[in-house]
Amino acid sequence: MQPSLSAVILKAQGLSKSYNGVCALDQVSFEVYESEILVLLGPSGCGKSTTLRLLAGLERPDSGAVRLKETLVVDSQSGIFIPAEKRNMGMVFQAFAVWPHLTVEEHVAFPLLVRRCAKNEIAKRVHRALEFVGLAGLESRLSTQLSGGQQQRLALARALVYEPDILLLDEPLSNLDAQLRQQMRLELKNLQRQLGTTFIFVTHDQDEAMTLAHRVALMRDGKIEQLGTPDEVYDNPKSLFVHTFLGTSIRFEGKWREDGGSPCLELMNRSRLRLNALSDGTKIVAADGRALAALRAEDLQIVEERRPPQENEIEAEVRDVINLGDRYELALKACDTEFVLEVSKRHHVRAGELVLLAVDPARIRVWPM
């Protein structure tokens, strides 16, 4: 099911929270649409888990409000606070939080039990949920006898069996090994597509965010830095931080040159980068005319010819060539910037040589220093 960008299921307004005087979350507002996966992405300590816990009702915000569907679940002004257990949300915890004293079946039955469902109804839904996450046949196992991946499926089944309005996932994949993580990522995506449940997913892993998200909220220091689709935030980062956090960021220092034409940045080694036009995200304000150009590795192409650099070309020194089997990894240096580029094996380069890199001018992002 595709998210409907018109139906808002959750609305957070001005959420703030501090612990012992340290501000963890600062006036955060956002909306979540029905049936979408919203990923809260950011480095540790950026406030993403705090946001999730405030939405869940596991903690009270110092100020701000959250509206779930038609209900105000928390509002610091009117003092409304609906506790976690009455919000009909599901949550998957980082360490899964499976109870060591219960079996798989008892786990999944738990939320239905506390909702006083009928016995045969419970049995039916538990069976369906376990089948759904692929744990059928393990009903009578103790949760501690399961592997990490199975525990995670169990946590998922427990959180989904009562069909919550929203599923909150707090770094659910970080406790799994790399291979399993990749697999679970895809499974989660498929699961969400089939169920149409709204997911709010917290992670510090940008790959995870890119794979899963319909929209990404990149957080930093208790604030949302940018919110948009994965492509939007990747291609049009609003700040250098966003650019750096998502993918590789190769930066060159330079100075503005006014030569009548479109804006042009001269790097330290005299290479000139001519921008087509200033896109929205670029702000060129520094008084001394100095600026920082940020590029992605995939926007650099090796030029086969050996000739002096032209406009939108950068000359770089090859420091090392690493054979990755199907391709080379080049350790390069240009204008004091060291970076890494993966190239196809048809390029024959040796350490110590100079190579010419062509830059796609449309992809250059510029920030003041």
Binding site: E85, K86, A97, P100, H101
Partner: protein
Amino acid sequence: MADVVIAAPSRAVWRQPSLIWSGLGLCAIIAALTLTPVLFIIINSFNAAPPSENWRFGFDGWREAFGSPRTLAAIGYTFILNIRSVVAIAVAFLFSWLLVRVRIPGGNFIEFSLWIAYFLPSLPLALSWILLLDPNYGLINQFLKPLGIGFNIYSLLGIAWIHLTATTIPIMTILLAPVLRQLDASLEEAARMCGAGSWQTFRRVLIPLLSPALFTVFLASLIRGLEAFQVELLLGKPIGVFVYATRIYDLIQWEPPLFPQAMALSTLFLGLLFVLALFYQRFTSKRAFATISARGVSFRLMDIGRVRYAIAALLIVFVAISVYLPLVVLVVGSLMKLFGFFSIKDPFSTRHWMLVLSDPVFLSAIRNSIALGIGTAVIGLFCYCLIGYALVRTEVVGRSLVNLLVWLPWAIPGILLGLAFLWLFLSAPVFSPLYGSYLGLVLVLLIKEMPIGVHMTKTAFVQIAEELEQVGRVCGAQWFYNFRRIVVPLISPVLVSIFAIVFMGAVRDIDTIILVGTASTRPLSILMMEYSMAGEMQAASILGVILSLFAVAIALVSRKIGLRSAT
């Protein structure tokens, strides 16, 4: 990443041929220390010979002991008094949960007060409750008299009240709080997210998860309760109420002592505890319980709004009544001309303090107390650490046997432990130099404190990740160097706690050493007991104040050092 089950710690593979010999040696030593008193008790319960004659098999002791209506009454009273454990575990669980999980103002102060209560000897508290609730001159009773209400501390309820406030609830809370701290908060939060309210979470998740810990604490308190003795003697004897432990003591006090009867009662006691221990093992081995996440638990305080002030007030009132009120009253009482007589003109005087403090008997007693406390704590720390380490981290043979034997002293009432060693010291010439010596007293106290000491070191060793220790070894450190530089610093907060507990256990002990000691090694606690049984309440309360000061000082020091090394 993976959860570690406490019950089944992974062990370092550290095999050497010498492990067999060291294991056998360890088994032999622990068995000698713990089984001797047990065998002594069982064998002598079947002694039918008069005291001066040689041992002769017979059931006379058993028959007389259980034929006596006083014994049956004592069993009845013991049962009634120990119902308090049921009340206490509920209260203590609530207290520890509030202290650990909820952000309440003054939480540190409340917990610290409970630690003071834990270290306080119970006899002086009983003295001060006599001051407050004596049916004739008790302070509170005098206030209540116009209202027509009156309490009598010389009653079953009085005894239970003192135990609940001064020992049972504080100890249980202190034991449960760390267990709750180790429980990952997300286990509770997961239940709340599933739609379970506070009560459902409590009943279906928290209680089952903690049931082994709750059961252990309950059992520990029950055993302490069964052998509790000082308060029962002081308050029960005047009204003819004997409990199991005071009945045993009473039998020994006869002239000549009725040892076979006392031993028969004790054998039954041991049997009962054995059954409880078996039951406990079956209960815990069925399912894997409390787990500690090796990654560090998510630990968050719950925000409960304004209710927290009410809760804090309630808890502070509790510690004020159970800890500080009796302490203050004790100090006041010690400054009176005549203990408890507030009505006489000009009732206060420092004369008794002067008399006691200048008494050479007192001076030697305080020296003895400090020597005993430090001696027991230092030697104990060393021995318990070695035993704990051998049990958790090595592959020495006979570990499971040692694990079991270490717990035996719990089951032996102090008075009988002392008696067994008195008999050993007097009957075997090899050991006779130990009689009445510091070393003899320290030995008995070491055995008495062994269960808690070894248990605490074991827990500490289990909790430090094995890799932390192995990495030191891989770096090339010799075993002992590694132990000293890596392992000991890592568990130093626990070591401080063990030192404090063992020191205070030795300083306030009465029942274990009352028979083994002589006048030359008599510590403060015994002197206080002698004063209070002789009716010299004034001197007894002064010693009580001094012992309480010890307790407060120890609580302060252990908190300060424990906290510093924890951060």
